[in-house]
Symmetry: C3
Subunit: 351 residues, 3 copies
């Protein structure tokens, strides 16, 4: 038996299968510093322990996306080592905030399987749950990926396409225990615009652009212990479809989220990932721009101090976002669009 892991192929998955993923990971202040160095995030809630304390937390939480990337990274060796494409996300919910010192593990359940008609590949749907050392949920989400079959002739026992939620309901959003916005200092936070100031349908050009380097996306992806080969090996990727290393889609989510500070500076916490699609691949040398649309304003039951915004975050490559590019006139994905992400943030309300 070979001692190296060649990953699961489509026919290796079973509906209802539970997977305990390897490599528990203690998240530290070192990860927080690297997150800042890689993305330049400026949300005061994660940047400053004092600011987080002023909102009722004991310390500054780790960026929600850093927690997501750690939890996601663990699933790769079991779920997507033989993936052709990462197709989408749905029903993602952030639970208790991750603090430096917490140890995260991930478990997944296979909730859907659908072979493609060519029998070369199939789509695997997994619900993955990240938990901290006391067993509390930190993030829970569904993703689906197209995975190669080892043997096109292999039969698939049971197939099912799961019902996926359109978005996470306001009542299901988790507000961290003890959090209150009574002493929220918008000057320190860097934006005067609170929940009340945003309107459904409003679109925001985040203006700035960030060029990606190979060293950066590889350091990020290794930090999350994500082992997908396409990100790291120029020797093989140079001979592949794109001739280049492909960038981990999560890197683009984090870049776009950091860019979105300029216009959404008080969107201090991500509460849900409603959906998301990596529309086109990105490569080192690409410059990422971003724009947002307010999809929905959500009141949070029982809370007058904070509300939620459901946002569409669109990232573009090598094209400023002022034209709010999304689709071609023919209704196809515009080739400049690299990310179409639907998520929900918490934001203070005016007293």
């Amino acid at each position: 038996m070979s001692k190296t892991n060649s990953g699961n192929f489509f026919e290796d998955f079973r509906l209802g299968q539970e997977i305990r993923h390897a490599t528990p990971r203690t998240v530290t202040e070192g990860d927080v510093a690297l997150y800042t160095a890689l993305y330049g995030s400026r949300f005061a809630f994660t940047s400053s322990a004092e600011f987080a304390r002023s909102l009722g937390l004991a310390q500054a939480p780790v960026d929600d996306l850093a927690a997501f990337h750690v939890v996601f990274g663990k699933t790769v060796p079991d779920v997507s080592l033989n993936a052709v494409a990462n197709l989408g996300y749905a029903g993602g919910r952030f639970g208790v905030p991750v603090m430096a010192g917490d140890t995260l593990t991930t478990n997944s359940v296979v909730i859907g399987l659908k072979e493609n008609s060519n029998r070369q590949t199939g789509v695997v749907y997994v619900r993955s749950t990240g938990t901290n050392q006391t067993g509390e949920m930190v993030v829970d989400y569904v993703r689906w990926v197209m995975v190669r079959k080892r043997d096109a002739a292999a039969a698939i026992a049971e197939e099912k396409v799961p019902d996926l939620p359109g978005s996470v309901a306001a009542a299901d959003l988790v507000v961290p225990a003890g959090l209150h916005a009574a002493r929220y200092d918008a000057v320190l936070a860097g934006s005067p615009h609170l929940w009340d100031d945003y309107a459904a349908g409003e679109r925001i050009d985040h203006v700035d652009g960030t060029t990606i380097e190979e060293a950066e996306h590889m350091m990020a992806t290794r930090l999350w212990q994500n082992t997908a080969k396409v990100h790291f090996n120029q020797h093989t990727e140079g001979q592949g479809r794109f001739g280049r290393r492909l960038i981990y889609g999560g890197h683009i989510i984090s870049i776009a989220r950091a860019l979105s500070f300029n216009g959404l500076g008080n969107a201090f916490k991500i509460a849900a990932i409603n959906g998301g699609r990596h529309v086109n691949p990105t490569f080192a040398g690409d410059t990422i721009y971003a724009w947002s649309e307010v999809l929905e304003k959500l009141e949070i039951p029982g809370r007058g101090d904070i509300g939620a915004l459901r946002l569409r975050l669109v990232a573009l490559k090598n094209q400023p976002a002022g034209a709010f590019t999304l689709k071609t006139p023919e209704g196809k994905d515009d080739p400049a669009v690299v990310l179409d992400f639907d998520y929900t943030v918490l934001m203070p309300r005016r007293a």
Copy 2:
């Protein structure tokens, strides 16, 4: 009203205006590790908690320049987002050392305004003060920048060119509380040369050179949450004046300071920034060399264990520093000079 910050233009500033800058920042051991990875600093005082304890501190302080960069970074969105050039520094003083865990904020006062004769731009002078979570000053300095006007026709209410100190006096240098050099171990520190061994007028070639990569300067600049667009966006900078991303001047200061260890290994702490000028721009691929000149030897009132050296630190690009290049025969800045920095360090004296 647009939700994105387009920064202040020259006519937006007022003499005496106070600015509370956004994004408080808790500095951690993660930042310290990144500082080492980016610059390779070898001063034992900041490298080793045990060494710092042997000098009377509770733990190793964060590098003074890291503190400076954090404090500086906060001013960018308010002061220099529309800057044409960062013209100079003066009257900089380091206060209480920054320790991992401290949270820094920055406030500025506009102390000078001078419109240029073309009316397209003007010079803004700000005194910026970084403080920790208990309100203690960690660094305080003046910088002046040339900032674009939004509207050339806009009138400027009141102008003033402030008096700037030539250098910080010895009596104004802050020696950290409890610091003593009685047990200073020069072997562990890596240099046998103490304060007594340096002479005014002495010049030191720091010998080594460091080549800059795009990923490094962008990670550094994001770590300090410095948002100046020219450092990050190849898509626009490629069409700009230089065709390339410009490197944050502070990155060069930190590289030159780290190079200066070889010759100034016992200059364990920066006490003052007397002045400084980014003489020419730098770009990825440039190799930085440095030389120093001892401008002045300063006794510190009441201290027999440590003295101060006022130093000129000159950084060159793509040219070794053995010729102590500074000016052309015509008295202009030599094109290889990228930094001319006047600062004051603390150094142990012989018992």
Copy 3:
């Protein structure tokens, strides 16, 4: 007297000479995060405080190679600043695990000197010992380097080629105090293969490949405060023998060790470095692959829960490792081989 350190030349060393190296270094969680970002290591023992606790430790130790690099880095300014080549390692033993917060220092003894017949260079053998702040040994090893003479005519007082151990005996391996494998969770660790499942002579292709970037190897090498000029200065190296910056050999050891997780996932701790050679130089842009051979299975006296494997770890550049490339048909080093490393790991045994 010049204030810059130009390093020792061959004739400056004396048999029995003791060197206290400069720059004590407190290792932190920041270094741990950078190690993960640079190498993507997935050994659960160093990744997770909870996992380390389940094996009886108080917290997750710092990666053994990170400790090695820190200890090694300190020796460079004294031992190898004028080195032509780093020839080999022997007799390396890891002592007490390094924990975040520990401060490391290095002392060396010159145990061998042998002038080359051309009288331009000689080989220096040093035993270097890294200790923590309480004086406990953390790693102890011999390396030998070819060092230039300042003056070919200089006489060498006493020469000696030391006897070097072939490998570290099982009885000399240090098992961390309190460590037990009774609760070792192989699923969380990411590999079902325990000590019992490996056989002497077995070879493992680690499959994956990693492409090296300039920013990465320079950040790593600076993190270890390794000052060897060839790694950092493109301005001079561009005119040198290779036309490029040379990569620190230890960077390749860490890459190869991280790749070896895929096939040796339960080799949770390095106990010894028996020998090692940097066979060919590596440069940015190279893609590193690795394979291992089990040289020996060692029982550890008095331990039924863990055993040791003596492994050969071979790294290749720009060539997959499935052919287990090592020598040419003529018995010379294959030009693709960059590292031939002989080390001993601890691994849990089946109950």
